[in-house]
């Protein structure tokens, strides 16, 4: 019941987000406006308890949600075939650049005191 209530909150906030984004011609997609609204709504225990139940489930299976779009690669096989090597180079290089810049910069910016917020080595699994 709590999860159902949580899902309803997510959908209601997403709907309000869509209405606001279109009505006010915001440059943001509706779900992003919904995210901002939820950020405020979470201060309210009634919303928090129900959203927590469904958010952990949804975000825990986030990778499943990308499968339908991912299968869409098959529709664009001709384009990927035509520009395949160049596209692969662009995607791999830019992803590595993005990962490297973010990780190195954040590590450099963080004060050393940060290292005691969580016990190290909770998981030894390979990344």
């Amino acid at each position: 019941m709590n999860a159902l209530r949580g899902l309803t909150w997510l959908l209601v906030l997403q709907s309000i987000g869509e209405v606001l984004a279109r009505g006010l011609a915001l440059p943001l997609p509706g779900p992003v406006v919904g995210l901002v609204l939820l950020l405020f709504a979470l201060n309210w225990a009634l919303v928090r308890d129900s959203v927590a139940a469904v958010a952990d489930f949804l975000l825990g299976h986030l990778s499943l949600l990308f499968v339908p779009v991912g299968v869409g690669v098959m529709v664009h096989l001709d384009l990927l075939g035509r520009y395949g090597l160049r596209l692969a180079a662009v995607i791999v290089a830019s992803t590595w650049i993005g990962l490297a810049v973010t990780a190195l910069l954040l590590r450099a910016l963080m004060p050393d005191a940060q290292s005691d917020t969580a016990p190290p080595g909770e998981s030894e699994g390979p990344r």
């Binding site: 906030l13 779900p31 949804l58 499968v67 299968v71 098959m74 662009v90 992803t95 810049v101 990344r127």
Partner: protein
Amino acid sequence: MNEFVQLWVYLSSTPLFGLTATLVVYLLAQALYVRAGQAAWANPVLWSVVALAATLTATGTAYPTYFSGAQFIHFLLGPAVVALAWPLWQRRAALRAHGARFVIAALAGGTAAAVSAVTLAWALGLPADVMLSLAPKSVTAPVAMGVADKIGGVPALAAVFAVLTGMVGALSGKYLFDALGIGTDATGWMARGFALGTAAHGIGAARALQVNADAGAWAALALGLQVLLAAVLIPLVAGWF
């Protein structure tokens, strides 16, 4: 035999097929991933996509037919984006203490990914619509589609590029971080998770979550921040050209 063919033709054209096939294949891929010791090469999204695309091609099922069922899963991306407020809210103390640091890292990383993608695509002579579809690829698929649409890219292509980007991050992130000397202490996991959420969005975040709970939480935080920043900034920047 003929009856079987008729049954297949009927079943494969109902939404039931796309939905069921997606869940069954994903659960199998997930089981394989666990059996492989959660090795990066066994990424469940990668193998689900390969297996489903191969099945559709082998059975002559059109992608729109498949998607009529799979859209019920695809639809959940919207509520999932809204749900990203939850990890952001949970980490609000860290956000308050280090907010500027997180925003700077997310902005720099997201900008580096988008600018290097567009610059490289331009240097390699890729067409303009492909180039613009590459710009939002570090953002999670549904947002990438919305952004691509606004700046003159192709939404479907942007979604595919976003998925491929997520896979590259999930598959190779560990090796890149090891090579860069990012450790596996608390700050190291924070940097790894945050970078995956920033540059490899939901698929990278899902990978981070499976490897280390702490890294997963930072990845989800980065994902939420990245979605906010990219949705605001990419159309603004694209408007200048």
